[in-house]
């Protein structure tokens, strides 16, 4: 049974990192004193104002890159979920796959209607026999998805964590992604498009 048309061109961490570094270079160049348009851009600004603006732009870039990494992490779990549902009866017989197929799947529901935290992460916590490392990640992920939702929904409410810019910046998201790749190893099913890396 086919539930999703998978996108072979979905951005991967290498693409995201390339975009992040290129954008950061552009922002740094914009604020570089040796840039011939520097004086025109920042006429009558104090050094502190320029430095603050520079920092604000880099923080905003980091949040955006962090969001992209979060959506990539989300796609790992959702792709795994869909592949398990699509798999034939003989393919994967583990408890997690059986749980998704028999307890979670509803034929009339669209894939995006399945809750990432309750249906998918919840399933992993109970039925995948997670290691301590996996469980730590599974327990932490909902906070990261709260942050992802806040950005995705236009940040219209005040995000409850004060230091979110430090906790969910791009570098921290890359660290989280690394933990998932190590902790989950080959347990997350991935879609192979048959294209060489």
């Amino acid at each position: 049974m086919k539930l999703v048309d998978f996108n072979p061109d979905k951005p991967n961490p290498v693409d995201i990192d390339h975009w992040y570094r290129m954008s950061k270079d552009c922002i740094d160049n914009y604020f570089d004193k040796s840039n011939p348009t520097y004086e025109e851009r920042f006429l009558f600004k104090s050094e502190e104002e320029v430095n603050r603006q520079h920092k604000d732009e880099l923080d905003e870039l980091s949040l955006k890159a962090s969001f992209f990494v979060m959506t990539y992490i989300e796609s790992l779990f959702r792709t795994d979920f869909v592949l398990r549902l699509e798999s034939g009866s003989g393919k994967w017989k583990d408890q997690l796959t059986r749980h998704f197929k028999h307890d979670v799947y509803v034929p009339t529901k669209k894939m995006y209607q399945y809750s990432l935290v309750n249906d998918i992460i919840g399933g992993w916590k109970t039925y995948s026999f997670p290691t301590k490392e996996m469980m730590d990640i599974l327990n932490t992920l909902p906070q990261y998805f709260d942050f992802r939702n806040w950005i995705a929904h236009g940040r219209y409410w005040i995000f409850k964590e004060d230091n979110y810019q430090r906790k969910y910046n791009y570098e921290q998201m890359v660290i989280m992604l690394g933990k998932i790749e190590r902790g989950f190893n080959s347990k997350l099913k991935t879609k192979n498009f048959g294209v060489a890396p």
Partner: protein, 181 residues
């Protein structure tokens, strides 16, 4: 003397030379004098009638300004009370791109910049020019004596000469603009 020792000596001499050219304490004192001149203009020329008849009151309050190259220092801000409105002339700093003194007139979230620039400078185009490398730079106006001018940070960067009539105009603009929020 080795090459490295010569290099160290040159770097140290250069640093001492730079420190002699740039005296932070002197720069702060000069800034305080410029700001005091501005306040004197406010009290004796721009609001003198209103202060005399009591319809406007002013006063100063010490604030701390911090600039990376100067550290933190005390300087007076000046408040202007008109009815229920209290505006503030707040010194921003002296290490500013394009000027050696900037004071902001602030009311709620509206502000205007007072900057010291040459009396012949009417806008950003008189201060900055961009030209192709290798071609001669366009001739610039002689800036003239440094005077206070008023700049709208969100505007087209045409500078108003700071005088009584423009000061009155800017005060009314700022209060009316703030009232729209």
């Amino acid at each position: 003397m080795t090459d490295f020792q010569k290099f160290i000596k040159e770097q140290n001499e250069r640093h001492i030379g730079m420190k002699k050219e740039f005296d932070p304490q002197k720069r702060i004192e000069q800034f305080r004098e410029c700001v005091a001149d501005l306040y004197h203009l406010v009290d004796t020329e721009w609001l003198n009638e209103e202060l005399a008849n009591g319809s406007v009151t002013t006063g100063t309050t010490p604030i701390t300004v911090t600039e990376e190259r100067l550290g933190a220092y005390q300087i007076d801000a000046k408040w202007i009370q008109i009815g229920e409105h209290r505006l503030l002339l707040r010194p921003v700093g002296t290490i500013i791109i394009g000027t050696k003194a900037r004071v902001d007139l602030i009311y709620k979230s509206v502000d205007r910049m007072f900057v010291l620039v040459g009396e012949n400078i009417d806008g950003a185009r008189d201060m900055i020019s961009v030209h192709v490398v290798g071609e001669p730079a366009p001739k610039r106006k002689e800036p003239g004596k440094a005077v206070w001018k008023i700049v709208n940070p969100k505007g087209r960067y045409d500078y108003l000469k700071a005088n009584k009539s423009n000061f009155e105009k800017v005060i009314m603009e700022v209060i009316n603009e703030a009232g729209r929020f």
